[in-house]
């Protein structure tokens, strides 16, 4: 039986994920319980959304470092709008958040696609610009739970269904639906395959008549919109939004994307892998806090080394595979 490379990668990731769970279970007393699942699934729901958006951008050979600030901004502005008009129909609110996020993404996309500026520089700049917009418009005051409509904060803990003690929240279901939709779109639709084509060989894609600028612009808009949706979930989960909301999420999302097996040079990768990558990173993050042997301050160091390890392993493996293919031909 032959297994395709991307399936193999997902299987390996799943193996690593299970091994990590077993490892922490052997180290921490009472680790395997329903509370752990409920907590981790909730935060993975947020990170997975951002990571999927990031994956669209990375597939086209770009990167979006601004999404942490986009999450913060949309959470803040959505909260602000809800405080002003608390009677807004609930269905409209996530749509609004996505629209706000998409607008930020469109700004990035315009600069990168229209002027062909390097995305790393543009989004490093907008990371700072969006954050300062947030600081300026909030004027130091923050959104607090008690001034938001009650349905919003209840929504974060509302269960879609339960399996024994395991509670599957609505936010988890929404996030999974987004991941699956993105997966089907990227693998089964012509418009989805374009993202891969642009990223794996821009020249060939141009000769084939694909519009690179439009696709890259779209990738940033998608990334912004999903960050906006994540901002809505963030607002719902935490209620209190300060000017530092979403700080550092861009690094986690890049981590999830890279660990999830999306090639950082564009053109290959799988959104399901990204989901597992996000879950793995969050699992390690949450578990290190509870592991007595190692201080929780190792979190960042571990995340950085994990990204480096994933990229290095990927590069070395791909090179070896290519060489073997070349040798056979």
């Amino acid at each position: 039986m032959r297994v395709s490379l991307s399936t193999l990668r997902i299987l390996v990731l799943l193996g690593v994920f299970i091994a990590t769970v077993l490892f922490f279970a052997s180290q921490i007393d009472g680790y395997m319980n329903a509370r752990l699942f409920n907590r981790i699934s909730g935060s993975v729901a947020v990170i997975a959304l951002i990571a999927v958006g990031q994956a669209f951008v990375v597939l086209t050979r770009n990167i979006d470092l601004s999404i942490g600030s986009v999450v913060g901004c949309t959470a803040y502005f959505t909260g602000g709008i809800l405080m002003a008009w608390p009677d807004l129909p609930p269905v409209l609110v996530p749509v609004l958040a996505m629209a706000i996020g998409a607008a930020f993404g469109a700004f990035n996309g315009f600069l990168v696609a229209r002027f062909r500026l390097p995305s790393i520089i543009v989004t490093l700049a907008t990371l700072a610009i969006f954050r300062s917009i947030l600081v300026q418009s909030s004027d130091g005051s923050s959104i607090t739970t008690d001034r938001l409509p009650a349905w919003l904060t209840e929504f974060a803990t509302m269960n879609a269904f339960t399996v024994g003690d395991l509670q599957v929240r609505w936010i988890v279901v929404i996030s999974l639906l987004v991941v699956l939709t993105a997966h089907v779109f990227l693998t089964r639709f012509r418009a989805g395959r374009t993202f891969y084509a642009i990223g794996s060989n821009p020249d060939a894609a141009a000769f084939a008549g694909l519009n690179a600028a439009r696709t890259i612009f779209l990738a940033f808009v998608i990334s912004g919109a999903l960050a906006g949706l994540a901002g809505f979930l963030f607002l719902s989960r935490f209620g209190n939004i300060t000017v530092v909301a979403g700080l550092g999420l861009e690094l986690k999302s890049v981590g999830a994307v890279v660990v999830g097996g999306v090639n950082i040079f564009g053109g290959s990768g799988n959104v399901l892998g990204v989901l597992i990558g996000a879950a793995l990173i969050d699992l390690i993050d949450t578990s290190l806090v509870r592991w007595a042997l190692v201080s929780e301050f190792w979190r960042e160091a571990v995340l950085g080394l994990l990204i480096l390890l994933a990229v290095a392993a990927d590069t070395v493996l791909m090179r070896r595979l290519l060489r073997r293919k070349g040798g056979a031909a």
């Binding site: 543009v122 490093l124 610009i129 300026q136 950085g304 480096l308 590069t315």
Partner: protein
């Protein structure tokens, strides 16, 4: 008068303009005290910008510099607290910076992974190590001579920081524009493949540049610790934005191969004067950072602006 038409000439005019504007809006701006203050308060960033010029002209980038600064400063503080004599702590902290640079070079040159990805990961990792060292504490109580070096004048009112910047700027200028090594940095950045086929030691040049970047960043981190007299885990966080903005605004191409040290130095002075002017107008740090972000985008658009400008000029003629 050809220099007027060069990018450096334009930067010089902008600098004069900003100085005039600042002097007009604030009586304090042109005083010697404020001018010294202006450089001293940012000296850590600007000495790293000098090395970053080499890195970017060489066609690479180093996003980890601010984290190396933080790690070196935290390691220094941790060692002083553990009873290591200040002098030794400085040497070891510099060694850590060197090791960080070598670690980056190992992955970039050794495994052939783009510097963008490697230094993004080590930016997180090195910052993480700094946090592991000091957790959420702040450390102060450094030796008096150490704090004095960072805070008081060494020669009259001029502190060590400014002397060090002046010396390093001259050194960086000479190495980049007047030595064979400098020419290699340009050549490799302009076309790596051709440089390799011409038998240039591309790998050794890149390794040396990244090691220099790590070491100078560590030096900058230690100077930061001396100036503030205390350290925390988030020290120097986000400085890479300022540093890269200074270099790109100076006319260095993000794709490598072009730019000058005098451009970087002029851009450094522009950014300093701009920040100082905003601070004198009571504009908060977050907003200053936002303005820096706008400036960064404008500075990567420099080639486009120049092209459009010359096309317009040609049409007028």
């Amino acid at each position: 008068m050809t220099w007027m038409r060069s990018w450096e000439g334009f930067l010089f005019l902008v600098l004069v303009l900003i100085y005039a504007l600042n002097a007009w809006t604030s009586p304090v701006f042109l005083t010697v005290g404020n001018q010294i203050n202006m450089v001293q308060l940012s000296v850590e960033k600007i000495i790293v910008a000098l090395v970053m010029t080499f890195v970017i002209i060489n066609g690479e980038i180093d996003l980890s510099v601010a984290s190396v600064m933080g790690l070196a400063a935290c390691a220094f503080g941790w060692m002083v607290q553990a009873g290591v004599p200040g002098g030794w702590a400085i040497v070891i902290a510099l060694g850590i910076g060197l090791a960080c640079g070598a670690f980056n070079a190992l992955f970039i040159v050794g495994f052939g992974i783009p510097s963008l990805v490697v230094t993004l990961a080590t930016m997180i990792a090195f910052r993480g190590f700094a946090r592991v060292l000091v957790e959420d504490r702040g450390i102060s109580g450094f030796p008096d001579w150490f704090n004095a070096l960072g805070q008081r004048g060494l020669v009259g009112p001029v502190p060590l920081a400014i002397i060090m910047f002046a010396v390093l700027a001259v050194l960086a200028f000479l190495i980049l524009q007047r030595t064979a090594f400098g020419r290699k940095v340009y050549f490799i950045g302009a076309n790596r493949a051709v440089a390799e086929y011409s038998g240039l030691d591309v790998r050794s040049v890149k390794i040396r540049i990244f090691i220099a970047s790590g070491t100078v960043s560590a030096l900058a981190g230690i100077m930061f610790a001396a100036r503030v007299g205390a350290i925390r885990g988030d020290i120097a966080q986000g400085f890479e934005l300022d540093i890269i903005t200074m270099v790109l605004l100076g006319g260095v191409s993000i794709f490598g191969g072009a730019g000058t040290m005098s451009g970087t130095i002029l851009a450094i002075l522009i950014v300093l004067a701009l920040r100082n002017g905003m601070a004198l107008q009571n504009i908060t740090g977050h907003i200053q950072t936002g303005v820096l972000g706008v400036l960064l985008i404008l500075s990567v658009m420099v080639p486009i602006i120049r092209e459009t400008g010359s096309r317009l000029l040609a049409r007028v003629r």
